[in-house]
Symmetry: C3
Subunit: 279 residues, 3 copies
C-alpha cells in the first residue's frame, strides 16, 4: 500500500487538532511549540482535579512518562480513561521505561488499563514494555538493543506481535524508524544523528504524532508513518542549515522547529523515505 | 490623555524591578527570559513554605493559572495576600479559564480574595471571569468571542464595568488589544498573527506587564498600555525579520525576545499604535 | 600547578557521562541541552519513588535548589545519600539561598547530610551557606557582596575555609570566578556580562560541571576550573556573535549553547584565562 503522505500533514493544518499533553517539565515548551508548528494546538494540564475536563475538550491525549511523579501518575489514568470513553486517540511515550521501577511499572499499568492508539519509544523502552528485558542507558536506547539491517526482520516481527497484543500502532524510532500494526510494517529512513544532540526530539515527535492521529482518524498507521517521516525530513533539513552556517546544537533545535512550521504536504511526499516492509 | 510611552519603558530599565512569578511549567523559561530582556529580574517560586518570603523581597507578583495544581493553588493565595499586605502590584493571567472547572473556580476565588492591579487574558478568559459564559478553545480564545470593529463599543463598556468591579486594570488582548480601568480605555493596534504561532506570547506579556506595573506605581493604566504596545511592536519587528529570512516559528520566538531586549523608549514611542477610546 | 585544561573537556566527550539532575522547572531544558552540548547525557527525575533507581544508573548527581518544593526536597536527600553510597560526585547549586528560609534551611541540611564534590553559587549564596549572612537580591548576588580586586584575598581565604569544612570544591562565580579546595585556589577571568541577561547561565554551568566531575574523577578541582573556564569562554564567543549581528538576549542564549557544543579542548586551552591564586 502506497501512503499518500501529503494528505496526513494537510489534514493536520486543516483541522488544527487540540491535543492534551501530560508530559515532563524538561521538554514541555518544545512539545507545545512543535504542536503549534505542525498545525495543531497544545494544552498542558496534569492535576487530577482538571485532567478529565481538559481531555474532554481536546481531540487527543499525549501521555509522556518523563519526570512522572505521584501527582501526575493518577492524572494519566484519569485522563486516559476519559479519552478512551470519548474515543479520542491516546499516545504513549514511555520515556525511560527500564531506567526505574516506577517508570516501568507505570508504563505497564497504563498498557493494562488504557487503550493506546500508538506507543512510540526507542527500542530499549519498547522491549522493556513488551518483554521486560530492554537494556537502557537512562533515556537513550542501549547499544545492545541496536536495530541493524541484520536484526530488522526479527524486530519487525516483534513490533507486529506487540501491536497485536496492545491494539496500538507501535513505533520504534532510531537510526531506522519502524512503524507497525498487527498486519503491516513500514520503515522510515529519514532523520539525522543531530536529533540525538538536543533534548526533546523524541518527546516532540510523540506530541506531533498525537496531532496527526487526531486529524487522521481513519488511518492511524499511516498517520504515525507520516508524522515520523515529517519529523525526520525536518531533521535532515535543519541539519543542513546548521552545518552550512557552522552552527551548533541550539541552532539545530531552532531550525528543526522552523522546518516543521514550514513543511508542506508536497515537500513531505517528495522527501519522505518510506518503504513497506516486505514489499 | 496622551501617554508618554517611553517613560514607562525607561522606568523598567532604570529600576530593574524584581518580579515573583507563580506560573506554569510550559512557558516559565520564556517568562524569565522576557523579564530579563525588558529590564526586570525574575524569581520563580511556588511552594507554600516559601512563597511569602519570596514575594516579600520582590516588588510585584505575577499569578498565571497555566498548569495550576493542588500544590501551587494554595501558594497563589498565600503570596497574593502577602503582596496585597505589602502594597505590591499583583497581576493575574487566567490561562484557560473556562477550559476546566478547576481553572474557572480558582480564578474566581482569586478575584474574590486578592486585589489585582491588572487582569490580562483573551476575551474568552475575561468573559468567563466576568460573566461566567466565555466560550473557550483550550487556552485560545473562541472565534465566537472575537472582538471586531462592530463589537468594540460593547467590549469596551464590558471591560470598564469589570475594571470598576475588581479595581484592576483589565487588559483584553487579541487582534486589537483593549486596556481599561473604570474611567478610560485604550486600544492598541500593534502585534502580529505570528505571536499566536508560538507558546508563551500571552504568558510573556503578562510577566513583562508585572515589571511595568512595579516600575510605574503612579500609573497602572499607562504601564499596562505601554507594556502591551511594547510587546506588540516587538512582535511586528520579529515577524519582519522572520519573514525576510524565510524562517519559521522558533526563529520568530527568538527574534521576539531579542527585540524586547533591544527596544528603547524612543522606539516604543515612535512605533506604538495607541489610541484612547472615544477620543 | 598548570592545569591541562584540554584534557578535562576531552574526557567529557570521550566518556559521555550520564548525569542525574534534580533541578528547577525554569531552566531545566537549558540544563538538559547544555549537558548534551558539552558531551554528556542528562536525565531528569525528582519523584521520591524513583530517584534512587535513577541516580544508581548515572555517574553523578546535580542538585539545584531553584523551585524546590515539598515533593522534591525529600528526593534530594534520597538521591544524595544513594550517590554518596555509590561514590558518585554530587554537586550543589544553592539557587536563591538567602532569599527564603526554606532555601537556606534546605541548603544547610543538605550540607550537613550529603557529601558534595562541588558547591557552586554566587557570592551571596555561598556566604549564606558558610556564615549565614549573605545579602541577596532574589537569585542574583547582592552588590554589597561584590568580589573586587580589593576583597579578592579575603574571599579566597573564605572559600578555602569553606572548602576545608565541607570537603567540597567551592566555586564562587561572578565577574571573576574563584574555585578553591582546602589547599589551592584558581581565578578564572573568562565570561561576559551578557550571561546575566539570560536565565539559566548559572544552572547550566552547574549541570555541565557535574559532567566534568564525572569524567575526571581523579581531579575534581581541575574539573571544576575547566568547566567554568569553558562556559566563560563560550560566553565571550557567543557575545561576540550576538553583537556582530546586532542581536539580543535570545540569540545570545542560542549562541552560548552552540559554542558549548562546538568547543574543542584545544580551543579551551588557548582561550582560558586561568591563574592559580598566589602563584
Amino acid at each position: 500500500m502506497s501512503l499518500q503522505l501529503a494528505s496526513y500533514l494537510d489534514a493536520v493544518r486543516a483541522k488544527t487538532p487540540l491535543v492534551h499533553n501530560i508530559t515532563n517539565y524538561v521538554t514541555v515548551n518544545d512539545c507545545a511549540n512543535i504542536l503549534l508548528a505542525c498545525g495543531g494546538s497544545p494544552i498542558m494540564a496534569d492535576d487530577a482535579d482538571e485532567v478529565e475536563d481538559i481531555t474532554s475538550i481536546c481531540g487527543g491525549l499525549n501521555i509522556n512518562l518523563g519526570t512522572l511523579n505521584r501527582n501526575t501518575i493518577p492524572s494519566m489514568f484519569l485522563a486516559g480513561r476519559r479519552a478512551n470513553a470519548l474515543g479520542h486517540p491516546v499516545i504513549l511515550d514511555p520515556v525511560g521505561a527500564g531506567a526505574s521501577d516506577l517508570r516501568t511499572a507505570t508504563a505497564k499499568k497504563l498498557l493494562a488499563e488504557i487503550r493506546f492508539a500508538c506507543i512510540r519509544g526507542n527500542i530499549s523502552e519498547i522491549k522493556t514494555l513488551a518483554v521486560g528485558s530492554g537494556a537502557t542507558r537512562g533515556v537513550d536506547a542501549d547499544v545492545a538493543d541496536a536495530v541493524t539491517e541484520e536484526t530488522l526482520g526479527s524486530v519487525v516481527a516483534f513490533a507486529r506481535r506487540f501491536a497485536a497484543e496492545t491494539g496500538a500502532v507501535v513505533a520504534i524510532t532510531g537510526a531506522t524508524d519502524l512503524v507497525a500494526d498487527a498486519d503491516r510494517a513500514y520503515l522510515i529512513r529519514n532523520g539525522h544523528p543531530r536529533m540525538a544532540g538536543i533534548t526533546g526530539s523524541g518527546c516532540m515527535l510523540t506530541a506531533m504524532t498525537a496531532a496527526y492521529l487526531v486529524a487522521n482518524p481513519a488511518d492511524p498507521l499511516g498517520a504515525v508513518v507520516a508524522s515520523i517521516a515529517a519529523m525526520g525530513l525536518c531533521g535532515e533539513r535543519a541539519a543542513e542549515k546548521t552545518e552550512a552556517a557552522g552552527e551548533g546544537n541550539a541552532s539545530f533545535r531552532n531550525h528543526l522547529i522552523d522546518e516543521v512550521s514550514l513543511l508542506t504536504g508536497e515537500a513531505l511526499a517528495a522527501g519522505a523515505k518510506v518503504t513497506e516492509y516486505g514489499c
